[in-house]
Amino acid sequence: MTTRAVETWTLDPLKQFVGEAAARLVLLMTPAGQVLAQHGFARALDVMSAAALSSAIVASTTEIARQLGEPPFAALTHQGERHGIFLANAPTHQGMVVVLVVYDLDVSSIGLVQLFFEQLRTELHAASPKTGVPKQVLAADFERQLSDSLDTLFGR
Protein backbone atom coordinates (compact mmCIF):
# COMPACT_ATOMS: atom_id res chain seq x y z
CA MET A 1 0.00 0.00 0.00
CA THR A 2 1.49 3.31 -1.03
CA THR A 3 1.26 6.71 0.52
CA ARG A 4 1.88 9.64 -1.82
CA ALA A 5 1.38 13.37 -1.64
CA VAL A 6 1.11 16.26 -4.02
CA GLU A 7 1.65 18.60 -1.05
CA THR A 8 4.70 17.07 0.59
CA TRP A 9 4.06 18.57 4.02
CA THR A 10 1.08 16.27 4.38
CA LEU A 11 3.11 13.09 3.89
CA ASP A 12 4.58 12.46 7.34
CA PRO A 13 1.38 13.22 9.29
CA LEU A 14 -0.52 11.00 6.88
CA LYS A 15 1.88 8.08 7.22
CA GLN A 16 1.76 8.35 11.00
CA PHE A 17 -2.02 8.39 10.97
CA VAL A 18 -2.28 5.39 8.65
CA GLY A 19 0.02 3.36 10.89
CA GLU A 20 -1.73 4.21 14.13
CA ALA A 21 -5.33 4.06 12.97
CA ALA A 22 -4.78 1.05 10.68
CA ALA A 23 -6.75 2.86 7.98
CA ARG A 24 -7.23 1.14 4.68
CA LEU A 25 -7.75 4.19 2.48
CA VAL A 26 -7.12 7.84 3.23
CA LEU A 27 -7.61 10.88 1.04
CA LEU A 28 -6.60 14.43 1.93
CA MET A 29 -8.19 17.09 -0.22
CA THR A 30 -9.38 20.67 -0.31
CA PRO A 31 -13.11 21.34 0.15
CA ALA A 32 -13.26 21.80 -3.60
CA GLY A 33 -12.07 18.24 -4.13
CA GLN A 34 -8.47 18.94 -5.12
CA VAL A 35 -6.44 16.01 -3.86
CA LEU A 36 -3.42 16.73 -1.65
CA ALA A 37 -2.38 13.22 -0.65
CA GLN A 38 -3.61 9.64 -0.67
CA HIS A 39 -2.94 6.28 0.90
CA GLY A 40 -4.06 2.89 -0.29
CA PHE A 41 -5.82 3.75 -3.53
CA ALA A 42 -4.90 1.53 -6.48
CA ARG A 43 -6.50 3.49 -9.33
CA ALA A 44 -6.64 7.12 -10.34
CA LEU A 45 -10.33 6.74 -11.15
CA ASP A 46 -11.05 5.71 -7.57
CA VAL A 47 -9.23 8.74 -6.24
CA MET A 48 -11.14 11.07 -8.52
CA SER A 49 -14.48 9.48 -7.59
CA ALA A 50 -13.73 9.52 -3.88
CA ALA A 51 -12.59 13.14 -3.96
CA ALA A 52 -15.60 14.29 -5.93
CA LEU A 53 -18.08 12.42 -3.74
CA SER A 54 -16.42 13.48 -0.50
CA SER A 55 -16.39 17.13 -1.42
CA ALA A 56 -20.05 16.83 -2.43
CA ILE A 57 -20.92 15.29 0.94
CA VAL A 58 -19.05 18.04 2.74
CA ALA A 59 -20.83 20.70 0.69
CA SER A 60 -24.25 19.13 1.38
CA THR A 61 -23.75 18.72 5.10
CA THR A 62 -22.29 22.21 5.38
CA GLU A 63 -25.48 23.56 3.79
CA ILE A 64 -27.65 21.48 6.15
CA ALA A 65 -25.68 22.87 9.09
CA ARG A 66 -26.09 26.39 7.76
CA GLN A 67 -29.83 25.95 7.46
CA LEU A 68 -29.90 24.67 11.03
CA GLY A 69 -27.96 27.69 12.16
CA GLU A 70 -25.00 25.50 13.11
CA PRO A 71 -21.35 25.84 12.22
CA PRO A 72 -20.21 23.21 9.68
CA PHE A 73 -20.24 19.69 11.14
CA ALA A 74 -16.87 18.58 12.41
CA ALA A 75 -17.08 14.95 11.31
CA LEU A 76 -19.29 12.42 9.62
CA THR A 77 -19.16 8.66 10.07
CA HIS A 78 -20.89 5.77 8.37
CA GLN A 79 -20.57 2.11 9.18
CA GLY A 80 -21.20 -0.70 6.74
CA GLU A 81 -20.91 -4.44 7.19
CA ARG A 82 -17.21 -4.68 6.64
CA HIS A 83 -16.00 -1.10 6.37
CA GLY A 84 -16.56 2.23 7.99
CA ILE A 85 -15.98 5.69 6.58
CA PHE A 86 -15.01 8.82 8.42
CA LEU A 87 -15.03 12.28 6.87
CA ALA A 88 -13.78 15.30 8.77
CA ASN A 89 -12.09 18.69 8.46
CA ALA A 90 -8.61 19.66 9.53
CA PRO A 91 -7.76 23.37 9.51
CA THR A 92 -4.24 24.25 8.34
CA HIS A 93 -2.31 27.38 7.41
CA GLN A 94 -2.97 26.47 3.80
CA GLY A 95 -6.72 26.35 4.29
CA MET A 96 -9.16 23.66 5.32
CA VAL A 97 -8.19 20.08 4.50
CA VAL A 98 -10.92 17.48 4.17
CA VAL A 99 -9.91 13.99 5.30
CA LEU A 100 -11.66 10.85 4.08
CA VAL A 101 -10.80 7.65 5.94
CA VAL A 102 -11.99 4.16 5.05
CA TYR A 103 -11.22 1.42 7.60
CA ASP A 104 -11.85 -2.30 7.94
CA LEU A 105 -14.09 -3.06 10.91
CA ASP A 106 -12.04 -6.19 11.63
CA VAL A 107 -8.83 -4.24 11.90
CA SER A 108 -9.73 -0.83 13.25
CA SER A 109 -12.68 1.01 14.81
CA ILE A 110 -14.25 4.42 14.77
CA GLY A 111 -12.81 4.99 18.23
CA LEU A 112 -9.27 4.42 16.98
CA VAL A 113 -9.80 6.51 13.85
CA GLN A 114 -11.19 9.41 15.87
CA LEU A 115 -8.46 9.11 18.48
CA PHE A 116 -5.64 9.35 15.97
CA PHE A 117 -7.47 11.84 13.76
CA GLU A 118 -7.01 14.39 16.52
CA GLN A 119 -3.29 13.79 16.28
CA LEU A 120 -3.44 14.09 12.48
CA ARG A 121 -5.23 17.43 12.74
CA THR A 122 -2.59 18.78 15.06
CA GLU A 123 0.26 17.53 12.91
CA LEU A 124 -1.21 18.77 9.66
CA HIS A 125 -1.67 22.18 11.20
CA ALA A 126 1.88 22.21 12.52
CA ALA A 127 3.38 20.93 9.24
CA SER A 128 1.45 23.25 6.90
CA PRO A 129 3.56 26.08 5.48
CA LYS A 130 2.69 29.46 6.93
CA THR A 131 3.89 31.39 3.89
CA GLY A 132 2.52 31.36 0.36
CA VAL A 133 -1.04 31.90 -0.74
CA PRO A 134 -2.86 28.71 -1.64
CA LYS A 135 -3.20 28.51 -5.40
CA GLN A 136 -6.61 29.21 -6.86
CA VAL A 137 -7.71 26.48 -9.21
CA LEU A 138 -8.85 27.95 -12.49
CA ALA A 139 -11.17 25.98 -14.72
CA ALA A 140 -8.70 26.19 -17.57
CA ASP A 141 -5.93 24.74 -15.45
CA PHE A 142 -8.06 22.24 -13.63
CA GLU A 143 -7.68 19.31 -15.98
CA ARG A 144 -3.94 19.73 -16.34
CA GLN A 145 -3.46 20.18 -12.61
CA LEU A 146 -5.59 17.13 -11.91
CA SER A 147 -3.59 15.07 -14.35
CA ASP A 148 -0.33 16.27 -12.80
CA SER A 149 -1.67 15.49 -9.34
CA LEU A 150 -2.71 12.01 -10.31
CA ASP A 151 0.71 11.34 -11.77
CA THR A 152 2.28 12.37 -8.48
CA LEU A 153 -0.21 10.43 -6.40
CA PHE A 154 0.47 7.23 -8.30
CA GLY A 155 4.18 7.71 -8.82
CA ARG A 156 3.99 7.91 -12.59
Binding site: S109, I110, G111, L112, Q114, L115
Partner: protein, 115 residues
Protein backbone atom coordinates in the same frame (compact mmCIF):
# COMPACT_ATOMS: atom_id res chain seq x y z
CA UNK B 1 -28.50 5.49 32.27
CA UNK B 2 -28.92 5.14 36.05
CA UNK B 3 -28.00 1.48 35.64
CA UNK B 4 -24.78 2.55 33.98
CA UNK B 5 -24.00 4.94 36.81
CA UNK B 6 -24.59 2.22 39.40
CA UNK B 7 -22.36 -0.14 37.43
CA UNK B 8 -19.54 2.40 37.34
CA UNK B 9 -19.97 3.23 41.03
CA UNK B 10 -19.39 -0.42 41.93
CA UNK B 11 -16.00 -0.29 40.30
CA UNK B 12 -14.80 3.19 41.19
CA UNK B 13 -15.38 2.71 44.92
CA UNK B 14 -12.61 0.08 45.03
CA UNK B 15 -9.48 1.61 46.46
CA UNK B 16 -6.80 2.07 43.84
CA UNK B 17 -9.20 2.42 40.91
CA UNK B 18 -8.63 5.71 39.13
CA UNK B 19 -11.55 5.44 36.79
CA UNK B 20 -14.12 3.21 35.21
CA UNK B 21 -15.77 3.27 31.83
CA UNK B 22 -18.29 1.49 29.71
CA UNK B 23 -16.94 1.08 26.20
CA UNK B 24 -18.58 -0.14 23.03
CA UNK B 25 -16.29 -3.03 22.10
CA UNK B 26 -16.80 -2.89 18.34
CA UNK B 27 -16.60 0.90 18.02
CA UNK B 28 -14.08 1.69 20.73
CA UNK B 29 -16.31 4.58 21.84
CA UNK B 30 -17.14 5.73 25.34
CA UNK B 31 -20.65 4.82 26.49
CA UNK B 32 -20.29 6.13 30.03
CA UNK B 33 -17.38 7.09 32.24
CA UNK B 34 -16.27 8.08 35.72
CA UNK B 35 -12.65 9.09 35.46
CA UNK B 36 -10.19 10.96 37.59
CA UNK B 37 -8.40 13.97 36.16
CA UNK B 38 -5.72 13.15 33.68
CA UNK B 39 -7.15 9.95 32.28
CA UNK B 40 -7.89 10.24 28.60
CA UNK B 41 -11.26 8.59 28.20
CA UNK B 42 -11.41 8.39 24.39
CA UNK B 43 -7.92 6.89 24.30
CA UNK B 44 -8.76 4.29 26.93
CA UNK B 45 -11.96 3.40 25.11
CA UNK B 46 -10.43 3.08 21.67
CA UNK B 47 -7.34 1.18 22.77
CA UNK B 48 -9.11 -1.10 25.25
CA UNK B 49 -11.61 -1.96 22.55
CA UNK B 50 -8.89 -2.71 20.04
CA UNK B 51 -6.86 -4.79 22.50
CA UNK B 52 -9.98 -6.69 23.56
CA UNK B 53 -10.71 -7.60 19.95
CA UNK B 54 -7.18 -8.75 19.23
CA UNK B 55 -6.98 -10.73 22.44
CA UNK B 56 -10.28 -12.45 21.80
CA UNK B 57 -9.06 -13.58 18.37
CA UNK B 58 -5.87 -14.97 19.85
CA UNK B 59 -7.79 -16.76 22.59
CA UNK B 60 -10.28 -18.19 20.12
CA UNK B 61 -7.40 -19.47 17.99
CA UNK B 62 -5.90 -21.09 21.08
CA UNK B 63 -9.16 -22.85 21.94
CA UNK B 64 -9.61 -20.90 25.18
CA UNK B 65 -12.94 -19.43 24.16
CA UNK B 66 -14.25 -15.96 24.88
CA UNK B 67 -12.46 -13.78 27.41
CA UNK B 68 -14.31 -13.40 30.71
CA UNK B 69 -11.78 -11.05 32.29
CA UNK B 70 -8.40 -9.63 31.38
CA UNK B 71 -5.76 -7.61 33.16
CA UNK B 72 -3.07 -5.55 31.46
CA UNK B 73 -0.22 -5.14 33.95
CA UNK B 74 2.00 -2.09 33.49
CA UNK B 75 4.78 -0.38 35.36
CA UNK B 76 2.62 2.61 36.32
CA UNK B 77 -0.86 1.16 36.54
CA UNK B 78 -3.20 -1.43 35.18
CA UNK B 79 -6.20 -1.88 32.95
CA UNK B 80 -8.80 -4.44 33.98
CA UNK B 81 -11.64 -5.39 31.67
CA UNK B 82 -14.72 -7.56 31.73
CA UNK B 83 -16.86 -7.90 28.59
CA UNK B 84 -20.60 -7.74 29.19
CA UNK B 85 -22.94 -9.88 27.08
CA UNK B 86 -24.31 -6.80 25.33
CA UNK B 87 -20.98 -6.05 23.64
CA UNK B 88 -20.04 -3.38 26.16
CA UNK B 89 -16.70 -3.59 27.95
CA UNK B 90 -16.51 -2.65 31.61
CA UNK B 91 -13.07 -1.07 31.98
CA UNK B 92 -11.19 -0.09 35.13
CA UNK B 93 -8.04 2.01 35.10
CA UNK B 94 -6.15 1.33 38.30
CA UNK B 95 -2.96 1.80 40.30
CA UNK B 96 -0.40 -1.00 40.26
CA UNK B 97 -1.11 -2.04 43.84
CA UNK B 98 -4.89 -2.35 43.41
CA UNK B 99 -6.61 -5.46 44.76
CA UNK B 100 -7.09 -7.24 41.46
CA UNK B 101 -9.41 -9.89 42.87
CA UNK B 102 -11.76 -7.27 44.26
CA UNK B 103 -11.78 -5.20 41.08
CA UNK B 104 -12.51 -8.32 39.08
CA UNK B 105 -15.50 -9.15 41.28
CA UNK B 106 -16.90 -5.64 41.00
CA UNK B 107 -16.36 -5.62 37.23
CA UNK B 108 -18.31 -8.88 36.99
CA UNK B 109 -21.12 -7.41 39.09
CA UNK B 110 -21.12 -4.31 36.94
CA UNK B 111 -21.32 -6.46 33.82
CA UNK B 112 -24.44 -8.13 35.21
CA UNK B 113 -26.02 -4.72 35.79
CA UNK B 114 -25.20 -3.55 32.29
CA UNK B 115 -26.46 -6.76 30.76
Amino acid sequence: MSGYVRALDLVTRVRGVRGAMLVSATDGLVVAEQLMEGIKGPAVAALAGSLANRLSRAMAAGGIGAALFWHLQCTEGALLVVPAPSGVLIVAVAETEVNVGLVRLELLRAAELVG
